[in-house]
Symmetry: C2
Subunit: 181 residues, 2 copies
């Protein structure tokens, strides 16, 4: 019989972004494991359309935190993994970028870390990151995932965003669009 | 001390797409759990830019399998969850679509199911799906995830694709692009 009430399912239902972290480094073996999780993530036609830059330097992460509009929390991460993509990435590359980011965040949670996504959504932000990390002209950079041990004495949520979800009835149809169970 | 060698990490390193399934339905409680996992997935600014159509009718799944170029395996899934997006979805919506698909596939594995992504990558394919499922003109559809109990007597991989991954050295830099550890 399949167990439906397990710690893993509970994680999937409860995992939220973290944004405030302790000043505590992440052990190398944990970093290596995160990178291996990234490496083994599935992608469209197994193209693996990614490279990753591991940033553990505080000053660099602070500079990255100032690049985008919703990247401020990078100023206090222990580590960020910046995702480098091919030039003019297709829609399926963005989808694959989401897949690898999600997998990294779930692995981080399992390893006792908090994490959050940072999105460099404007050309200016992307140029800043390109300059900071020496990313060549034939590559693009759109996002990073930041990691650290969660500082539970501080709120984790961006204050402007609600944390709930739409109801199942609002988002699910059966058989055909708009058909309810 | 953090455990790095756990069943969950092992899943993250080993999970692959499944494409051949047994003729065995998925219990309703498992389907409900998958939908709740989808519902609670994180998204950019908590926009939750998705709706889902649950398709368990074999004929409809066979019709969906014929819509796209890499969607053939839908002909034998027990269930597909088709992801409906807003009109002209932005790049971050594609990223969020990847996040929810990845989470669904990991949950499926945990619940004893195999799964695979199906991509409706051409306007023709998308129009076919729109027609089959009654998706309105102000919504778009790009992908689905198919689920079922794996038929382990059959190969699961699309024969034209390798299953390995690039080495860490090929994809990882430290501190700056191209800088190796």
């Amino acid at each position: 019989m399949t167990q439906t009430d397990t710690p893993f399912i509970s994680t999937l239902l409860k995992l939220r972004q973290s944004r405030r972290f302790l000043d505590q480094p992440i052990p190398a073996e944990i970093v290596d494991l995160l990178l291996d999780v990234a490496r083994w993530t599935g992608s469209a036609k197994n193209t693996q359309p990614w490279e990753f830059i591991v940033v553990d330097d505080r000053d660099t992460n602070i500079a990255l935190s100032k690049a985008g509009q919703f990247t401020g929390f990078l100023d206090n991460v222990a580590l960020s993994i910046v995702i480098v993509l091919p030039e003019s990435p297709s829609r399926s590359v963005a989808y694959d970028e989401g897949r690898v980011s999600e997998r990294l965040m779930l692995a981080a949670d399992h390893l006792g870390l908090g994490s959050g996504t940072a999105w460099f959504s404007t050309p200016d932000a992307q140029e800043t990151v390109r300059g900071l990390l020496g990313i060549p002209a034939d590559r693009e950079v759109w996002s990073a995932v930041g990691f650290g041990y969660i500082d539970r004495s501080q709120p984790q949520r961006a204050s402007t965003l609600g944390g709930g979800r739409k109801s199942l009835d609002e988002i699910i149809s059966y058989g055909r669009y708009g058909q309810k169970a």
